[in-house]
Symmetry: C3
């Protein structure tokens, strides 16, 4: 930090189990990735190459090398896994993970119908090869999952070998744990937290009001995901009570 200010909330240190900021790269150039690393690396724990953007991004290997050189973990979005799976190309997917020396993989079923025990089997298989992050929630805003079912799914995926479970919101922040307006499904979150330790979940929260809501509920070291690259610095100030939205929240503690 550039200045010494008293009474700032204590952030966990990287590598950390909670307080994670997961960022979505939806097609940055190699130089944009360098710029991102310069500014955001100290505050970022892992980068998701959004959905299947890695398929059509030129100079992908060069960009991944920039992330590797900065000791910045990264993984392909779950939609890429689903795109291989639905074409019966799961083995080819594993070879892609090998080819790019991926250390993380996402297992999701946001766009496909996959029996949950089968999904857990893939989590189990891949967790022997890489660190698995799995995702619960549909990308279809009409498929509402009941709170008790969220809890069952998250528990089963953690038991199957997921390092963390992501709560779905998409890039737009208007499905899964949010209503179409972007408003948090508060009852759902409260109920999930009665059964699942907060550090096991990464809450997708692309919109500022969503980040603020989770930080006020869980604290500065909540795990948040799908953060746009240019919002990492703003998010860090919200975590630290250095922006209007949480200024009072931490100062009164």
């Amino acid at each position: 930090m550039n200045f010494e200010l008293n009474n700032i909330p204590t952030r966990t240190l990287k590598p950390r189990n909670n307080g994670i900021t997961m960022v979505m790269d939806k097609g940055m150039s190699t130089r944009q990735a360098q710029d991102f690393i310069e500014v955001a690396a100290p505050h970022t724990d892992v980068i998701k190459l959004g959905w299947a953007t890695s398929m059509v991004t030129p100079k992908l290997e060069e960009k991944l090398q920039i992330y590797r050189d900065a000791q910045m973990p990264f993984y392909f979005g779950g939609t890429l896994f689903e795109a291989f799976l639905i074409r019966n190309q799961f083995d080819a997917y594993r070879k892609v993970l090998d080819k790019y020396k991926m250390e993380y993989a996402e297992v999701s079923d946001g766009s496909i119908n996959l029996p949950h025990d089968e999904k857990c089997k893939y989590i189990d298989i891949l967790s022997k090869q890489v660190t698995v992050i799995s995702e619960v929630g549909s990308k279809d805003d009409k498929k509402i999952i009941a709170p008790y079912r969220w809890i069952e799914l998250i528990k089963a995926e953690l038991e199957a070998g997921s390092w963390k479970v992501i709560a779905e919101a998409r890039e737009s922040g208007n499905v899964g744990i949010y209503r179409e307006t972007g408003e948090v499904r508060q009852g759902l979150i409260d109920e999930i937290l009665t059964q699942i330790p907060q550090e096991s979940i990464i809450w997708e929260a692309p919109i500022k009001a969503q980040q603020v809501w989770f930080i006020k509920l869980i604290g500065c070291n909540v795990n948040l995901g799908n953060i746009p690259p240019q919002e990492v610095i703003p998010l860090e100030t919200i975590r630290l009570g250095l922006r209007g939205d949480t200024f009072d929240h931490f100062i009164s503690t």
Copy 2:
């Protein structure tokens, strides 16, 4: 493409007549233009220097040279044409086109009142100097054009020498072919398509839901315009059925 996936929709190859992605540059720096080229050039067909931003953008010639070196076509937005025309400086405009060795020009009447036969005359004149793209639709959200009139205007402009006709939406995607909410005027599009070949039109579609709507209606090789630079990679995944929004649409084919 970085990975081999079966059953991906077949994109046309550049230079192409349909499947065009037209991108809006509203004032990128020279280095931002290079970054854009690195990532988006394979998926971009033509760049519009939005409205009259070229008037006040420093290092314009250097940026255009970056586009030329990448064999990336570009043109000045129609508002620049209109700004010269309304000041009775059409000849000066033609000299500007010459000075910057422009190979394309846009003829529009989104901000001025121009009798349509006169507009077609300008299309005719300029089409002898450059490839003309003309635009139908007002930037004023109160000026609604009836479907039969859209068809007449588009037909006349193609006959006058336009290579393609752009259907207006602005950077914001809330006028012309869209309602104020950004929702597509579906009846209008359906009616236009009964009379005009889809490859003759570039649909301005700056918002993701608009891109998805047109891709589902017309297919992966629909012509789309006013794409923000950072949305070219995401758009390409939508065209290919590699994002949640069109994942089912193409996989079921």
Copy 3:
């Protein structure tokens, strides 16, 4: 300007007292700052390092040097001042200003309760060290200030030594002088302008419709603030009547 167009509104020249564009940098990298300077420097008068983002931005000094080399004034957002003040660290704040050789400082009370005579005392003290910009308006959308009170506050702060007073809107443009929807509180602005010279105020106007509204009301040389870096070129075209939104407004003059 790249082209010669007749009848373009006359912009004031830098350094200027009105016609100011104040830009918000919320965490640009050093290279992004260079890109910004290349494109936007001729049209930008001063950069605000948004709220307390300067606290957690790596390579801060290197970035400030880029701004200094370009003769581009900059200052820390008022929330940083407030964060020091509420911790009784005002002296430490002054040392931070010295350390970074700041020539400007913002005094605000958007997130704290500060008796107004005390705020004016800080304006007075700091105005002996730097050029002070002060800000009126709360970041809390529930704290509505009556028009007569806006006028009293602005007058007192100018008398206390503020170079300009900023009218609050936040990065989002939905508090202070705007309603929650972003719509301008027109009656408030009209009333303020009966008592305060327009050149004494910088109106925060992050959203295009807000910029257009002020330009139509006050003219091309209105002072506007919280402009996102990539919107400086678009804003300049709006000031000059070279975008649809103000095309008619200036051409008819």
